[in-house]
């Protein structure tokens, strides 16, 4: 058993090195006191981080990203909650088609979605800006939010809802007193992940923003200039730390309280 496990362990380590090391270069060089990225490092500086405080365009882009992210995640999670409940709980006509419809943005290349929204938006005579970006992000986030919520709701023991009805609560009372509190970790996880997806999203924003840049758009603009690279590195490092934190939080929430429910299911089986 052990000799084989060692080869697998080495493989696993190499896999993680391949996954993580390239990304680690961002924070490493963001503290490097040089415009060129090469080893050995030139010297330690926090100058690139301090620089961020003074960039007005960066602040504007950050604010735009937050606005889009909050609105898109709230709307997509709301849609996803109702959809997930329907798919996890009921069998109905047109189930497959509506599921496919919601999952569509997840199943086609993003650029197609971007181009489609662009054409519709322009032909409707509207101006490009953060509104179409938000719509695009909502469409794009909904499948993710729905998958998280379906997983949560499917692990949920429906006899709890029946018990509530049996104990004299009506449908709304059951939703607020039983279902919602038990779905809550899943809902928060879906909100957080939708926000992060929107916050990171580039293609839709690239096609639809017009003049209001989101944060990834801002970075894209800066990436072209060699002298701006350390600045992008520092910004990237901050974003990676921030998004990783949010994702960790979301995953932790996704599992919170699931243990109890699982035990109940285990009992049932």
């Amino acid at each position: 058993m052990n000799e084989k496990n060692n080869t697998l362990l080495i493989y696993t380590l190499l896999y993680f090195v391949f996954l993580y090391v390239p990304v680690l270069f961002l924070p490493i060089f963001s503290f490097n006191d040089a415009n060129y990225m090469s080893f050995p490092l030139a010297g330690f500086t926090t100058e690139h981080y301090e620089e961020m405080w003074s960039k007005r365009n960066l602040h504007k882009a950050l604010w735009a990203s937050i606005k889009v992210g909050v609105v898109a995640s709230v709307i997509s999670t709301t849609i996803a909650l109702f959809a997930a409940k329907a798919f996890a709980r009921y069998k109905f006509r047109g189930e497959k088609i509506s599921y496919g419809g919601i999952m569509m943005p997840f199943l086609i290349p993003e650029i197609i979605l971007a181009v489609a929204i662009l054409i519709i938006w322009i032909n409707l005579g509207f101006k490009l800006g953060l509104v179409p970006v938000t719509i695009g992000h909502t469409l794009f986030c909904t499948p993710f939010a729905m998958l998280i919520l379906i997983a949560r709701i499917e692990g949920f023991d429906f006899s709890l809802e029946e018990a509530s009805r049996d104990l004299g609560e009506n449908a709304w009372g059951t939703f607020f007193r039983v279902s919602f509190p038990l779905y809550l970790p899943g809902i928060v996880a879906a909100l957080l992940l939708s926000f992060i997806i929107s916050f990171d999203e580039f293609i839709l924003a690239f096609f639809l923003t017009g003049s209001d840049a989101t944060l990834p758009m801002y970075m894209w603009g800066q990436m072209r200039f060699v002298q701006k690279l350390p600045h992008v590195l520092a910004l990237g490092a901050v974003i990676i730390v921030f998004t990783t934190f949010i994702v960790l939080l979301a995953f932790w929430l996704r599992n919170v309280g699931q243990g109890k429910a699982k035990k109940d299911i285990a009992l049932k089986l």
């Binding site: 709890l160 009805r165 104990l167 609560e169 009506n170 007193r177 243990g259 109890k260 429910a261 035990k263």
Partner: protein, 360 residues
């Protein structure tokens, strides 16, 4: 005391093409411990869920205490349920679980407190108020589920295989306890189970179900002694079936030709037609006698012991009787030597222990 506290009138429930419950009618008396017994998929749980209001019947109607509840949602019915997996709300502690159903009853604060206290005492869970579902054992959860339902003082308590998840010893204890509890509080219990021993030992009356229909509804001892058909006879306890043919009928008796054994005059409780080959005779293993010497019973057969299995309180013998191609099972409390395998022996049957059944 009304004789028909719960009335189930021509209830059918179809799921697409499957007739889960097929035109069932019967009545349950007030204060009765009533069991629905049957193999999985027989429709017993569907029937219970129809009573609770989680399913609505395709046709027929339901009355409880004279009120038609057929179309009422679960929260408007005078029933409460103990779920198979207990369905204890994982986000609420024991006390809040029990209080959950009291909010809509319009009780005063003191009354709520008293009811909760009383019911906790009843199910012996005092001191567990602050615990959560995952901090309770299976037996304790079952008590919480029971308390949560009883605290609303329902007219009928529905129990969906509540003992299924417990281990054997605890299950036996809970059977006794549930029975005592039901007698003390006097509420009508409708109990669903697939375990015949459980149903027989606890209930006042049992309805045996199969294929969405009631096969027999009677007191437990009747089920065992006088099964109405081959399904009930096979499902309740163990039995040996022997091929048979009826001949002429004679008052309450009928002449039956049992394969290889000869013709006998047997009680005809079920009014089985004469001159029919669509019948079968059933003999319980423990009603037969196995011995080394010939007996003077109505029937005494030469046999050979093929296999024995020692069960503690009794020994089961699998014997071969000349001319009968099936192995006959006989159990005995006295004849318990396992070294009898392949020995010759005698099997004795008394005519009154043979029941005659229609094949269908």
């Amino acid at each position: 005391m009304s004789n028909s506290f719960i009335q189930i009138n021509n209830i059918s429930k179809h799921f697409k093409d499957v007739k889960a419950v097929d035109d069932v009618s019967f009545e349950i008396k007030e204060g009765e411990f009533f069991s629905l017994l049957g193999p999985s998929g027989c429709g017993k749980t569907t029937l219970l869920r129809l009573l609770a209001g989680f399913e609505y019947p395709t046709s027929g109607n339901l009355l409880i205490d004279g009120i038609d509840i057929t179309a009422l949602p679960p929260d408007k019915r005078p029933t409460n349920m103990v779920f198979q997996n207990y369905a204890i709300f994982p986000h609420l502690n024991v006390e809040k679980n029990i209080k959950f159903g009291l909010r809509k009853l319009g009780l005063s604060h003191d009354e709520i407190g008293n009811r909760v206290k009383d019911v906790l005492k009843l199910v012996k869970l005092e001191g567990y108020e602050e615990r959560f579902s995952n901090q309770l054992s299976g037996g304790q959860r079952q008590r919480v589920a029971l308390a949560r339902a009883l605290v609303r003082q329902p007219k009928v308590l529905l129990l969906d295989e509540p003992l299924g998840a417990l281990d054997k010893k605890l299950r036996d204890e809970m059977q006794l306890e549930l029975r005592t509890l039901q007698k003390n509080i006097g509420i009508t219990f409708v109990f669903v189970t697939h375990d015949q021993q459980e149903a027989i030992s606890m209930s006042d009356r049992v309805a045996v179900m199969n294929d969405g229909k009631i096969q027999q509804l009677s007191a437990p001892n009747e089920l065992y002694k006088n099964p109405k058909n081959i399904f009930v006879s096979d499902f309740i306890g163990e039995t040996n079936f022997l091929k048979a043919e009826t001949k002429s009928s004679d008052g309450g008796f009928i002449n039956v030709l049992i394969e290889e054994l000869g013709e006998f005059k047997i009680k005809n409780n079920l009014n089985i037609a004469a001159n029919s080959s669509d019948v079968v005779c059933s003999v319980r293993p423990e009603s037969m006698m196995i011995s080394n010497v010939k007996s003077d019973w109505d029937i005494c057969l030469d046999a050979k012991i093929r296999q024995t299995s020692y069960l503690g309180e009794m020994t089961r013998f699998y014997v071969e009787v000349k001319g009968i191609d099936k192995t006959i099972t006989v159990s005995s409390q006295h004849f318990d030597n396992q070294s009898f395998e392949n020995n010759d022996c005698f099997i004795s049957i008394s005519l009154e222990d043979i029941s005659l059944l229609n094949k269908k």
